[in-house]
């Protein structure tokens, strides 16, 4: 047995392994690869389908249908309905992100030690990140892949003399700048974990079970002994056979910040911190309007980023090229007015921010047993959010933009350089903004205190045996940088400590 995909009702599937890893994204695939390298018998279970690069969609519609969790339509319950973006496919969100690689900042380890009693991760995580950068061919964006949008961002950064302590690197080998990161890189340049770690698990004798959303963890007393669920057809979305995967050593949950806590809830765990301390990097974009065509979809989707403002005021800035399908709804207005705005498409480019927000929310289980995210930004975070938009506006103007499009309800559609001061007084109501939550943390946070955490510093769930969480849900703080590198390194460290 190597790969098991959807099975129809009546073809129930049972198998036993030493380790069962739930979720094949950054955390799960990295953990499974580590366990396989140690010669352990591993099953990697994924809710979504396994799509090779030739199976990747071309359109944004196809991306939502084939790669996104809930078609990308899961939104926060709170003051504003902001989408929570995650993938549901083998490789998880690494298939649809822009592969930005940033090492875990040192202050994060200090914070974990001081606030959560987690003191022995730094050296192990950094060593794992050394190895990951080799495994996933980390490199800077090559000049041929820049494209004008990223070059303009760099130009704006240079004019404003922003000093970035973490120059941007990505898990990409020989990027050609196809601008297709969000739909999956068909050119196989992006080293998403479905191209690296998942095949390695198979090569080393492990098994991959796909189209298999885990319903719950199975226990014998307080010991986790496996998982069970029903296959779901990736196109019809109908339920198929039941699968039961037994684990003699441990079950590793890495199903994402929203799904991991809910799997544990459905499994009957009653830990006081379960689902709590959800955090994110909410963000939005500001378009610049340039005289010459920018053609933002030519070049790397996110070929420029800056962590210069990570500590103060707490922001990450990035370029983000989005296709006409998404610009169509992102620009405000309707009718002829909207079409006139869309006619500028070649001349606009979007740069965004991700706020290192301190607000916390929670993940709960809906009546249907699915995840619900309750989250609203507080005033201080909204002020950061607004500051980020001011920075992006200044960067656009420094790069030569004639106008910017802030996309704030109730404000003018476009602002000229002499109007940029209006942004300082932009509303602080989240409902006025079109934003998304891209980087997610918490829900199963690690810590020493069982009242305020779900796992210990090795990802082991308090109060039960043989159950480990190894994804972004264990991260107890907001990193302020893209989390994939930290998630993969933590997962590998937790896996190393299991063998």
């Amino acid at each position: 047995m190597s790969h098991v995909a959807f099975r129809e009702k009546g073809e129930d599937f049972e198998a036993s392994f030493e380790f069962v890893v739930v979720g094949s994204g950054a955390g799960g695939a990295a953990a499974a690869a580590t366990l396989s390298r140690a010669g352990r018998s591993v099953a990697l279970v994924e809710a979504g389908a396994w799509r090779e690069p030739d199976d990747y969609p071309h359109s944004a519609y196809g991306g939502m249908r084939d790669l996104m969790d809930e078609w990308g339509a899961q939104v926060t319950m709170g003051r504003a309905l902001w989408p929570v973006v995650q993938a549901r496919t083998v490789g998880g969100t690494t298939v649809i992100n822009s592969a930005i690689c940033v090492r875990t900042p040192d202050d994060i380890f200090t914070q974990w030690q001081a606030e959560h009693g987690i003191g022995d991760l730094r050296d192990a995580v950094l060593a794992a990140q050394d190895r990951l950068e080799v495994d996933l061919s980390v490199e800077e964006v090559p000049p041929k892949a820049w494209g004008r949008a990223n070059l303009l961002a760099k130009q704006g950064e240079d004019v404003l003399k922003w000093a970035d302590p973490h120059p941007m690197k990505r898990y990409a080998r020989g990027c050609e700048g196809n601008g297709q990161c969000l739909q999956g890189c068909r050119a196989k340049k992006k080293q998403s974990v479905n191209l690296v770690f998942v095949p390695e698990v198979l090569t080393r004798g492990g098994s991959v079970v796909t189209c298999a959303p885990v319903d719950r963890v199975l226990f014998e007393g307080t010991k986790a002994v496996g998982v069970t669920g029903r296959f779901v057809h990736p196109a019809r979305r109908t339920k198929g056979a039941r699968f039961t995967l037994r684990a003699s050593k441990a079950v590793v949950i890495a199903a994402s910040v929203t799904h991991s806590p809910v799997i544990l809830m459905r499994s009957g765990l009653k830990l006081p911190a379960l689902g709590k301390y959800f955090r994110a990097h909410p963000g939005t974009g500001v378009f610049g309007v340039y005289d010459e065509p920018v053609d933002m979809n030519v070049g790397a989707t996110q070929g420029w980023a800056s962590t210069a403002f990570r500590v103060n005021p707490g922001l990450k800035l990035e370029t983000l090229a989005i296709p006409p399908e998404l610009v169509a709804s992102r620009l405000s207005g309707g009718g002829v007015q909207l079409m006139e705005r869309l006619a500028q498409y070649r001349h606009i480019t979007m740069w965004c921010h991700a706020v290192r927000a301190e607000s916390t929310g929670r993940v709960s289980k809906s009546l249907f047993g699915t995840p619900q995210v309750h989250y609203t930004l507080d005033r201080a975070d909204m002020e950061r959010f607004r500051q980020g938009m001011v920075l992006l506006a200044r960067q656009h103007f420094a790069a030569g933009a004639k106008r910017i499009i802030p996309g704030i309800a109730g404000m003018p559609y476009e602002l000229t350089p002499d109007q940029v001061g209006l942004l300082d007084d932009a509303p602080l109501d989240p409902q006025k903004y079109i934003a998304i939550l891209s980087h997610l943390f918490g829900g199963c946070v690690m810590g020493k205190d069982e009242r305020t955490s779900v796992t210990d510093g090795n990802g082991r769930v308090h109060g039960v045996q043989n159950l480990v969480v190894a994804d972004g849900s264990v991260i107890p703080t907001n990193l302020g940088v893209n989390p994939q590198h930290t998630i993969m390194a933590l997962a590998q460290v937790f896996a190393e400590r299991l063998v």
Binding site: W50, D55, A73, T210, G333, G334, G335, Q337, L338, L342
Partner: protein, 130 residues
Amino acid sequence: MLWLVRSAVVIIYPRTPTLPGAADCGLDEFLKKFKRESPLLIWLGTVLGALVFHLTPLFTVYLPLPAFLLPAKLADRHAARITSTNVYLVRQSVFLVKLCAGLCWGAHPEVRKVFALPALPSDPGTWRTT
């Protein structure tokens, strides 16, 4: 229901001298596919958004008529106003219609040609079974 969504989309994305409108971009086939493939809640949300769009001209152009009965000029003014209304839930409802239609409009070869982008091949919709 398809008709309700279609008529809202056509008003939101009309044809202009520089760009094709949604009606020129295979909208009917797209909506059938969207209804068939999308989760029920997303489709229902889109229908609800279209319903909100059609029932609100009284608040935008001050006429007690559904949007699909408005003269073209007033329908266009309604589209501009309702998509930027200050009432959040109304704006979000109509946003769903805009999002759905944008996925059709923006991927169409004629639109991409105007933006100097190559035509997109069809999505394979395949996955690994072995």
